[in-house]
Symmetry: C2
Subunit: 463 residues, 2 copies
């Protein structure tokens, strides 16, 4: 079946340009391996047409049997789809063996220094209070509470959360309009899908904006449009014709900028004038270390602003609970969508969180975390001033991170990650190029580790 | 502003046909209330055009001010959208105040007799073992385990589940291809979206099939096509040009039919021949009371069949955990989709379930439940034989329900629900009309309650 070919190396000039055969082994195996590599690397995308066996054989100067054999093996492995009388297609994927992980650079458990800008200190997670809340809430649950329940969330948690958000963030919330999700990103996914179904086409996001948020909105089917930001926050005048906008008015990620009062009014007016929706993403606004005490934007216009938050920064991402306080008109469509997609969040977790709030455990945890984070932020700022005296350190005294403008972002990130420092770059969250710099989290690392990490970054920057 | 009108009742002849005014109160309030009711009942659909104020006023023989005032109030409440120079539109929704609930007829907590065909006995939920598992698994978790983790699921649970499914259902599973979801319906949603993204257009489902599954697949964006079934299960010869099919080969819901061996082979051949996907929905196959011991269909062709199951029947829906054992080619796209939609399931719950399996608590719970359900099924069958001697009772001795053909389904359901009996009708799960009958769950009610409920149904049927 395998024929020898005259030239030592034959290059395909067809759609598989770059395929090269030599005498290193069976020709079919070589074709098979190289096509598999092209599919794995996504050089050949899922759904792409492959050349017919005849065309490729002719391109490569081999017998058709060589290509038939290679294609058959690739089809058996699921990399390609053979179609009678038509060109084969690259199958859905050939990447099954690759691990996929939330942690984009390396598993957090391997991090030597955890400077992730979007994580709280998981070591402070109140394990004993959480278990106590699990026990008490389960003891108080009726058997019927262990069924599916309201897809919009357990009323008990919705009531507790509504008053918690009124008290801690000035949100105009009540249980009726407060819904429960699997994290804030799930809330964004559902809101995106609901807006899309109602005819919305384009959603603005701040540029820059946390990449996971942009990603999840795109997955909801809505077109995501970057809106420029400046030192006053979102450029409301640049919103153009978007139908909705996602904004973090109290603390942009990753610039740390706070939306100015003028812009707040303008944004709310924009929404009200066109019956558009503002989604307020309050990712880390519960932690405030300075004089800035703006309340939630949502309170200015509760029928035009959906307030979204989650337990990820308050407790831990593993809790996987988020919430949204919605304009009244969105309650039914969001609940419907939750029902249709059957994505109610675990009620056992919801009951536990309700208990955490009701017993005051969450408040106690936030006081402790706040005290630790305030100290750590001061340590990080001092270390940066010492090791990077020329770097511009920005952002309001809020949340879990500070942005630092430093030249050579990409190189520095690469070096830092090789040394197992978990951290983000400003440009990793931009829809367009951003100033070179880092986004350094201070919440997740103890003070001594922060000092050492910044010292190490200094050495890496100078290398 | 409000003028009296000559005729006592004026009917609109325009697009709002049926609007009737009388002298019972302010005219604007009457217009407002009736339009609101039309929107709430969806007689006027979201996005529908309303007549202009001028046209409606003329139709109703009232001054334009009456309609302007009514429309203004409806707009303020979010029911309609006013547009300068154009006809108002019905807003996205006006149903905000209505509760939305999973329990389609009434909240389960109000059920006098719980004959729901898709629920286990929530009173048997092993609360103490569950709490023990929460405590032990949290004690064993590293701080980094409280972060987001792998969106495909915690490896610890995936390993435990894979061996559990091999052992209990003969699934060809390993941790690499076993993913974790928020229930089986979430797995269907993700699979639907992944297939859709890969170019699939139509997915077949058994007709009849549980209505929530049809609903969630439709929400994933794929076109759902009912495939006829008969006493041997899915009519494989009628699959037509669908790209994938959802089937419960061991126990169709709601007919209880088991897919015949011939059909199993034919189904697998169909999938393999066209690179199509079979999704095996194993909703209650762990409970088997008779001689039928077919293993999972997935074992016949693990690269063409995705096996889907959940904790809802095994433990309780409130756990909100499901799983899928996937063909290798689907692992990466499913994990990618989970990452993009940020819908990882709570890791705290995952750790707890892994502990439940590892310690043997889940097996113990299943043995106990199985024994109780076996007795209850016998009681239900005896009660049916006594009170409905002519009714045809079908289905294999498997799972949580039996289908019963009884005339007058709709009337009987209505009467039963008025008496707070929770149960389903055969036609509620058909894509096309089904034989008249009920789907009676026997797992969730104690033996005495089953006897009384069937006796009550007999009385209601005779009324």
């Amino acid at each position: 079946m395998v024929l020898s070919i005259e030239p030592v190396s034959a290059l395909s000039t067809g759609p598989l340009l770059g395929l090269g055969l030599d005498r290193s082994g069976p020709l079919a195996a070589q074709v098979e391996e190289q096509v598999r590599a092209l599919i794995r690397s996504r050089a050949l995308e899922p759904g792409a047409r492959l050349p017919s066996t005849r065309a490729l054989a002719s391109d490569l100067g081999v017998s058709r049997g060589v290509v038939v054999s290679a294609y058959a093996q690739l089809a058996a492995e699921g990399f390609i789809r053979l179609r009678p009388g038509a060109a084969p297609l690259v199958a859905v994927t050939g990447r099954a063996a690759e691990p996929v992980a939330y942690e984009p650079e390396f598993p957090l458990v391997r991090a030597r220094y955890n400077l992730r800008p979007d994580l709280p200190d998981l070591g402070l997670f109140p394990r004993a209070d959480w278990l106590r809340s699990c026990r008490r809430s389960l003891a108080g649950a009726a058997n019927a509470d262990l069924s599916y329940g309201d897809p919009f969330g357990a009323i008990r948690l919705r009531s507790q959360l509504a008053s918690f958000l009124v008290r801690t963030r000035g949100v105009l919330a009540d249980a009726d309009r407060t819904g429960i999700f699997s994290g804030a990103t799930h809330a964004l996914l559902v809101l995106g899908a609901v807006l899309r179904a109602a005819g919305a086409v384009r959603m603005g996001v701040e540029d820059p904006c946390h990449r996971w948020r942009t990603r999840v909105l795109a997955a909801s089917g809505i077109e995501v449009v970057g809106i420029p930001t400046d030192e006053h926050g979102l450029r409301v005048d640049a919103l153009g014709d978007v139908d909705a906008v996602l904004v973090s008015p109290d603390h942009n990620f990753p610039t740390g900028v706070v939306l100015s009062p003028d812009r707040r009014s303008a944004l709310v007016d924009w929404a009200a004038a066109g019956d558009r929706l503002v989604i307020e993403d309050d990712h880390d606004g519960h932690f405030r270390y300075g004089g800035i005490h703006a309340g939630a934007l949502q309170a200015l216009a509760p029928e035009h602003v959906a307030y979204v938050g989650s337990a990820s920064a308050l407790l831990a991402p593993a809790v996987r609970l988020g919430w949204a306080v919605l304009p009244a008109r969105l309650v039914a469509p969001v609940a419907d969508r939750l029902f249709s997609t059957a994505l109610a969040t675990s009620r056992l977790m919801q009951f536990a969180l309700a208990e955490m709030i009701e017993r005051g455990y969450l408040d106690r945890h936030l006081r402790r975390s706040h005290a630790a984070y305030k100290r750590r932020r001061a340590v990080l700022l001092r270390s940066l001033a010492r090791h990077f005296p020329d770097a511009q350190v920005g952002g309001a005294p809020i949340g879990l991170f500070v942005p630092v403008r430093i030249a050579g972002e990409a190189r520095l990130l690469q070096r830092a990650r090789k040394r197992w420092i978990a951290l983000d770059g400003l440009n990793e969250h931009g829809l367009t190029p951003q100033p070179s710099g880092l986004v350094l989290g201070f919440a997740a690392a103890p003070e001594a580790a922060l000092r050492r990490a910044v010292g190490l970054l200094k050495i890496l920057a100078a290398e």
